[in-house]
């Protein structure tokens, strides 16, 4: 299937503990497009945009509470000939019901960076993927957000995913 990019060009992570509501516009989350949709993350990129030193302890993980009534962000196909998805996953940073990072599955990958000039990029190998399934807890959402501690700073994020 085609690969899609979900980018949020400028946002400031808000640090939250596990199983606590995330803050609107303080996280970047991908939610599956239907109850049975399966997909894989292929790449995660974070580029720091802060104007002063900001150690930002970012983590990628699963959510034990999924968001509802989402304010959907942009999705862009990496290939111009890709057909539109019937049920596209949703990239979002704001919702009425707030997502919560899972206490057990919430830390699949650490992506700590200093948002003052730092860049972090994780790129998957062919069989090295993080999957999502459906759009319910705990397999249906993957989020990028800040772990407690540090002083999160302005950054831009990009998640490349592929639906199966």
């Amino acid at each position: 299937m085609a690969r899609w990019a979900a980018a949020i060009p400028s946002w400031t992570p808000v640090a939250v503990a596990d199983a606590i509501n995330m803050t609107d516009n303080g996280h970047h989350t991908i939610q599956g497009g239907s109850g049975t949709q399966r997909g894989e993350l292929r790449e995660v990129y974070l580029g720091g945009l802060a104007g002063a030193s900001s150690p930002t302890i970012m983590v990628l993980g699963r959510n034990s509470t999924v968001g509802a009534t989402l304010t959907a962000g942009r999705l862009a196909a990496l290939d111009p000939s890709s057909a539109a998805l019937a049920a596209p996953p949703t990239s979002y940073g704001a919702s009425t019901t707030k997502p919560q990072r899972s206490a057990t599955l919430g830390m699949l990958l650490h992506l700590g960076l200093n948002a003052f000039g730092g860049i972090v990029r994780w790129y998957m190998g062919p069989d090295q993927v993080i999957s999502y399934l459906g759009n319910t807890a705990s397999l249906g959402e993957l989020s990028l957000n800040a772990f407690t501690g540090g002083t999160p700073g302005l950054l831009g994020s990009n998640i490349v995913f592929e639906t199966l």
Binding site: T36, G48, P55, L108, G112, G117, G118, W122, S131, L133
Partner: protein, 139 residues
């Protein structure tokens, strides 16, 4: 053809060449976090734990044996290795857990309130269900 266990690994890049970076003190409270001080570029192979999908950043200087599941022939994280040994070598790849979860999700897709769907909230339950039944060999 897979040439080695780390063949086809992904990679992690943390570029702090033009940044104050992150000191060990900044991430001392985060288990598994990698400090990359200012002026440094970190590039590492990264593999996915075949049993839980956590990312394992390969430390080239590691001297201990890296955890490996001989049944699915893949690297696994240290936590899953401890669980594997404790369970007598049981291998439950995360792909099997996902297949099992997909089966449940598709079976009850018309009834979002079905109690069976609560199993999806806790993949450790699915892991137990997806485990192959123990084989008893009678000589």
């Amino acid at each position: 053809m897979k040439r080695s266990l780390s063949h086809g690994a992904g990679y992690l890049v943390v570029d702090h060449r033009d940044s104050p970076g992150i000191s060990p003190a900044d991430v001392a409270h985060v288990p598994g976090a990698i400090p990359v001080p200012g002026g440094e570029l970190l590039e590492r192979d990264a593999i996915v734990c075949a049993h839980c999908q956590k990312i394992v950043v390969l430390e080239p200087g590691r001297v201990r044996a890296r955890a490996h599941c001989p049944k699915c022939d893949a690297y696994i994280c240290d936590a899953c290795e401890a669980a594997r040994v404790a369970a007598g070598g049981a291998c439950v790849p995360f792909k099997a857990v996902l297949d099992h979860a997909a089966e449940i999700a598709e079976k009850h897709s018309g009834d979002p309130e079905h109690p069976a769907l609560t199993a999806l909230e806790d993949p450790t339950t699915l892991q137990t269900d997806a485990a192959p039944a123990p084989r008893v060999i009678v000589p």
